[in-house]
Amino acid sequence: MSIFSRIVERLFSLAAAGSALLTIAVFLLLLYLALPLFEQGGFWALIRSPWDPGAGLYGIYPMLIGSLSIAFLALLIGFPLSLGGAFFITCFAPLFLRRHLLNLVRLLTGVPTVVYSFAALFLLVPFLREHLTGGSGLNILGAALMLAVLIAPTMIIFFVDALRRVPSGYLQAVTALGGSPGQGLVYIALPLAWPGILNGLLLGLGRAMGDTMISLMIAGNAVALPGSMMDSARTLTAHIALVIAADVSSLEFQSIFACGILLYLFTALLVLMVRLLGKFPKRSPG
């Protein structure tokens, strides 16, 4: 090995170690800053109580519920859409279209979320207000719809990737037996590609949970516990953005670290699940 490639290798491993350390350092910093909360046993109380600074309550329970309901609703809307999109791109679209469609989807992953939010504010929100949900139109449903649009391209790319890895011989065998392409997809490709699809699903959920701009602009940010998807709600991420300007030593400010830890743990859990899924043995077609 030449000196040059040795240096390059060293540089790369340093970069990898650096980013890994950074991730751990962020978590340790969050823990350190939230330490006063843990010591007073306030962390669990914060997670379970409502937000009412006037009454001395700085709980983030409504935001936790807001985040979870928006993210899971987005996944519920986005998953069938993305699966359908991936089926179309891998199987049903005319051959010359497939590559262009996939490129288009790749392009969509790069659209800044603020652009989606801005468009939704002038198109989706008035529609929801007048025809569907009433109220101000700023609610969980609107944010979830936009988040579904946001995470769909990511999921489609993962799904397409997973479906394409299914050996083409299996699908040819289906055709040889007189099966339709649809049957091959549902009975052969889907079960084989399932780990990859689950992977995309979890990453989509992570992205929906971590997004700030869409929920900040579309969900309404009310601090009340949402009762239905027609209600205005605030997510953990939007809460951080809205409270960060409070006095550093105040309890309001400390609640931000509780939000941060929750988000961190949630993302870590998702990544862990993705890793574990990768270890599963590939099921052979039975």
């Binding site: 409502p50 937000w51 009412d52 600074p53 006037g54 409504p62 504010l121 002038f122 929100v125 008035p126 207000r129 009433g134 109220g135 101000s136 139109g137 700023l138 900040l216 309404g220 940010n221 009310a222 601090v223 009340a224 209600d231 205005s232 605030r234 953005a241 809205l242 409270v243 960060i244 300007a245 409070a246 006095d247 550093v248 309001e252």
Partner: protein
């Protein structure tokens, strides 16, 4: 969230500056404050201040291309915090900082305008006059339908501002008399966002800096007094506050020049042009 970065092509800027120097030298008297300075100022905080800040910065940078001024929003809380921690040179506040804040960061206050906080609704809303107690009931979530106030049979959509907002503190203190704001109220992050939200929602009610009120929203009279510039100036409209710029310690050099410019006749004219009440 509103960020304005001004970068100009050096050559064009020079030519522009040169042409200004030759043709408008007589008019540019107050801009002489910036002569000979070089460098950058960053400003953040109150969102009511932004129109005036942007115009003043634009003029300063046109007069002297060696100066770069960036303006960010964030709200009063952000302004006080960032100037205190020396992340920016000037922090804007839409309320008077508390004694504790002044002492903690060694803040120096410059109040260069007076502003009202006006209640606004959608221009099509028939309800354009309220009493203070009606307003308090609306914001407390006790009055929930426009019908109860003589409007259409639709739920009232409340809009309020985030914790960092000086506009919110002034509104809650002087218009709501420290009354509660319903937790169901939607929260927006700047005066501009508030105006957009109410302009787009026929059943919404919100509050903005009087300088930000234009034809896209309708001002609501409180106890018979409309939130207009004239009423604020005459002292008839009581929900008013000063607009402050803050520095950590006495300002020097370019920062001082910029603040002096705000108090100069041309600076105060910008204040008037943008719909605020000048202090000089």
């Amino acid at each position: 969230m509103i960020r304005q970065f001004a970068k100009s092509n050096f050559l064009t800027a020079c030519l522009l500056a040169a042409s200004f120097l030759f043709s408008f030298q007589a008019l540019a008297g107050d801009l002489d404050l910036f002569r000979g300075y070089k460098g950058a100022i960053s400003i953040s905080g109150g969102t009511a201040h932004i129109p005036v800040m942007k115009e003043a910065a634009k003029r300063a940078m046109t007069a002297n291309p060696d100066i770069q001024i960036t303006i960010a929003g964030g709200g009063t809380g952000v302004g006080i915090k960032q100037v205190g921690e020396k992340m920016v040179q000037i922090g804007n506040a839409g309320r008077k900082p508390t004694e504790a804040e002044i002492k903690q960061h060694g803040l120096v206050l410059f109040q260069w305008a007076i502003d009202g906080v006006g209640v606004v609704v959608h221009p099509q809303n028939q309800v354009q006059a309220l009493t203070f107690s009606q307003l308090q009931d609306i914001y407390a979530g006790k009055t929930v339908n426009w019908k109860e106030l003589g409007g259409v049979d639709r739920a009232i959509n409340l809009y309020t501002r985030d914790q960092a907002s000086g506009t919110r503190e002034v509104f809650a203190g002087k218009a709501l008399n420290k009354g509660a704001v319903s937790p169901r109220a939607n929260v927006v992050v700047s005066n501009g966002a508030m105006k957009t939200a109410v302009a787009n929602d026929p059943y919404g009610i919100g509050y903005v800096s009087v300088g930000h009120i234009d034809s896209s929203v309708a001002p609501v009279a409180l106890d018979g007094v409309k939130p207009t510039e004239d009423n604020v100036r005459a002292g008839k409209y009581k929900v008013a506050r000063g607009l402050y710029s803050l520095t950590a310690g006495e300002p020097r050099g370019l920062v001082k020049a910029f603040l002096d410019y705000l108090f100069s006749p041309s600076g105060q004219q910008i204040v008037i042009d943008k719909g605020f009440i000048p202090v000089r």
